[in-house]
């Protein structure tokens, strides 16, 4: 029983990482821009956050540093694809490769560093409930904030004026431009928001999830987060559910290893990646289903007339 509670708790934790990044990419993609640089941004942000906590001792400062790093890299990407109209795929790839190189280079001397003692969070009262307390109420505050954020984001995109403008820009930038909306600035804002959230996810990984810094530690989570936006057909609540599914698969792997299941660890490590491929294939099977939900201008350059 307790085992299961811990597995649920770990799943929420792992899912949070993916969901934060993926919601950021969702906002990003709603504006019609796809940023394949998620992995690179998360790596740099993980390093920035980690270094900041090492020097200041404050987790909060680490999160802010991670968000800043993510937003800054996203801004470079944004200027290139939005104003210079470079190919979005190639530029995103460049960002991923550059981010991996930069973080490995700048972080080389931080590999041995340790963070100050980690605090364990729990909600007073609720966390004492047997099973449920262990499963749901001993999470980092960010986990609960994320759930509120998801609800708010859904409302914002469907009801708020600014949210609808963002979607309009992503669906048809030419029309949005004709109506007088500053398409490029809106897109840059969306891209930088995406970068900031990817950065937050990266910092969460190096500060809370696995509190350390190692080269390449994001291990494909940025790419899985990118895939998640497609699974979720660009809907925030589905992103959350998808993230929990993948968090669960990731955690199941550690759980099975812990249980001493007679299977090579490599097969288990493969699980989240294989699961991503399988689910992606199943969801994408109907092209119309994807096309109906996908921002219509996704990946296409916009030239102002």
């Amino acid at each position: 029983m307790n085992e299961i509670a811990l597995l649920v708790a770990a799943t929420l934790n792992a899912g949070t990482v993916l969901a934060i990044a993926s919601l950021g990419l969702l906002i990003n993609e709603k504006s019609g821009i796809v940023n394949l640089g998620a992995e690179g941004m998360m790596l740099c942000a993980a390093l920035a956050g980690f270094v900041c906590v090492v020097h200041t001792g404050s987790d909060m400062a680490g999160f802010v540093a991670g968000m800043g790093a993510g937003a800054m890299l996203a801004a470079i990407f944004g200027v290139l694809v939005i104003w210079l109209n470079t190919n979005q795929y190639a530029t995103g790839l460049a960002l991923s490769l550059f981010g991996a190189g930069l973080s490995a280079f700048a972080g080389a001397k931080y590999v041995q560093e340790k963070l100050p003692e980690r605090v364990h969070f729990s909600i007073p009262g609720l966390s004492d409930i047997p099973f449920v307390g262990d499963a749901f109420f001993k999470q980092h505050p960010l986990v609960y904030i994320l759930i509120l954020f998801t609800v708010a984001l859904t409302w914002w995109m469907n009801n708020a004026r600014t949210g609808l403008i963002l979607k309009a820009v992503g669906e048809n930038p030419e029309s949005a431009h004709a109506l007088g909306y500053p398409v490029r600035k809106i897109r840059l804002a969306a891209v930088m928001t995406g970068g900031a959230l990817c950065g937050l996810a990266g910092a969460y990984i190096s500060i809370i999830y696995t509190p350390l810094w190692v080269e390449g530690m994001i291990a494909g989570k940025g790419w899985i987060a990118l895939a998640l936006t497609t699974f979720a057909t660009w809907r925030p609540v589905r992103v959350l559910l998808g993230a929990c599914l993948f968090g669960g698969v990731t955690m199941l792997q550690f759980h099975l290893q812990g249980e001493g299941v007679q299977i090579s660890p490599q097969w288990l490590t493969m699980l989240p990646y294989v699961a991503t491929i399988v689910v992606l294939a199943l969801i994408s099977r109907s092209p119309t289903f994807i096309r109906v939900n996908m921002p219509a201008s996704l990946g296409k350059p916009f030239y102002a007339q």
Partner: protein, 340 residues
């Protein structure tokens, strides 16, 4: 025009690189010398350069074909690993009294390994409409774990003190060297032949032309009756095969066994090689040499200047950024305007 952009991008990368050296308190001239002069000072250095350029050329050739037809295979690293595993399998399982033909068999197997790995992506794209960028990339991680499984498990060297590595391959399975005392091997010749063949395919055959029309103008390709499905399969399997061959030649050449450290990112670096080489076979040769200079320069900067080897990755990323920006800045004139 098409040459100006890469040259300008290289210049930009060098300028930013110098600034990085200055920021780190190192002499920028000495730093740049590590990257562009030290590697080619000796014959041995040139041989090492060619050795690193070989897989980059092969992989980038395939990727260029993919990118030209708008198929985004970015999982060449995984196809490289699959090829390495396949070639390694042949090399491990062959008997001690086998002849040199086994090396050819191992190379062919590596091509098939890469093709098989790429075919997963092609199949899922074709039948399930799954995004090839994400699928091919996820498969890199899967291939990496598969390699790990083989060298930690069934193929582990029984006399290897429990290290995750296979036996050292027998001499007859190894790619012969071109010259005594230098590590460069016949793989370089194979890569150069591939350059010529790819040039012919791209610019002198209808099939190659059809692939590219699909990338430039999908509607025109449909009207001409060029199948986009065929283009998908043809480009993915070709690039998979070439990446697999690169992996096979890497383990049968300089490495000589399978270890978890066989993949060093050539599959990703080759994406940059392909773009900087203008997706042109001849351009790819030059950009592969440049990229090898970055690799060797990074190693030298580590051993002689105490800088992290990852400097290579920073330079590679910068180069691609600079190239993409230069492409636009050369083709278009900037006009500053209010709003928009």
């Amino acid at each position: 025009m098409s040459l100006a952009s890469p040259l300008l991008a290289i210049a930009l990368t060098l300028i930013i690189g110098s600034l990085i050296f200055i920021a780190l308190g190192k002499d920028p001239l000495r730093g740049l010398a590590m990257f562009f002069i030290e590697p080619v000072k000796t014959l041995y250095g040139v041989s090492e350069l060619a050795l690193k350029a070989t897989p980059l050329i092969l992989i980038a050739l395939g990727l260029a074909l993919c990118f030209r037809s708008n198929v985004w295979n970015i999982g060449a690293e995984g196809q490289f690993i699959a090829g390495a595993i396949a070639a390694g399998g042949v090399a491990i399982l062959c008997g001690t009294d086998t002849g040199m033909w086994i090396m050819l068999l191992a190379l062919i197997t590596s091509v098939l390994g890469g093709i098989a790995w790429a075919s997963i992506t092609a199949l899922l794209r074709d039948k399930f409409n799954a995004n090839e960028i994400l699928v091919s990339l996820m498969l890199v991680y899967v291939a990496d774990q598969l390699l790990g499984y083989m060298v930690y498990g069934p193929w582990k060297d029984p006399n290897g003190y429990n290290f995750p590595q296979t036996i050292n391959f027998l001499a007859q399975t190894r790619l012969p060297r071109l010259f005594d005392g230098l590590r460069v091997n016949y793989g370089l010749l194979i890569a150069l032949i591939a350059v010529v063949v790819m040039w012919l395919v791209m610019f002198r055959t209808l099939a190659g032309y059809a692939l590219q029309v699909g990338g430039l103008a999908p509607a025109a390709a449909r009207y001409a009756g060029f199948s986009s499905r065929k283009a998908l399969w043809a480009t993915l399997l070709t690039s998979g095969g070439l990446a697999g061959l690169a992996g096979g030649m890497e383990v049968l050449g300089p490495v000589g066994q399978l270890t978890p450290y066989v993949p060093v990112g050539y599959g990703f670096a080759a994406i940059i090689v392909a773009f900087v080489g203008r997706l042109h076979p001849v351009g790819i040769v030059f950009s592969a040499v440049l990229m090898s200079l970055f690799y060797i320069g990074g190693e030298l900067a580590q051993s002689r200047m105490g800088l992290p080897k990852a400097l290579t990755g920073v330079f590679q990323g910068l180069l691609l950024f600079a190239l993409l920006a230069c492409d636009t800045l050369i083709a278009y004139r900037i006009k500053w305007e209010r709003s928009v």
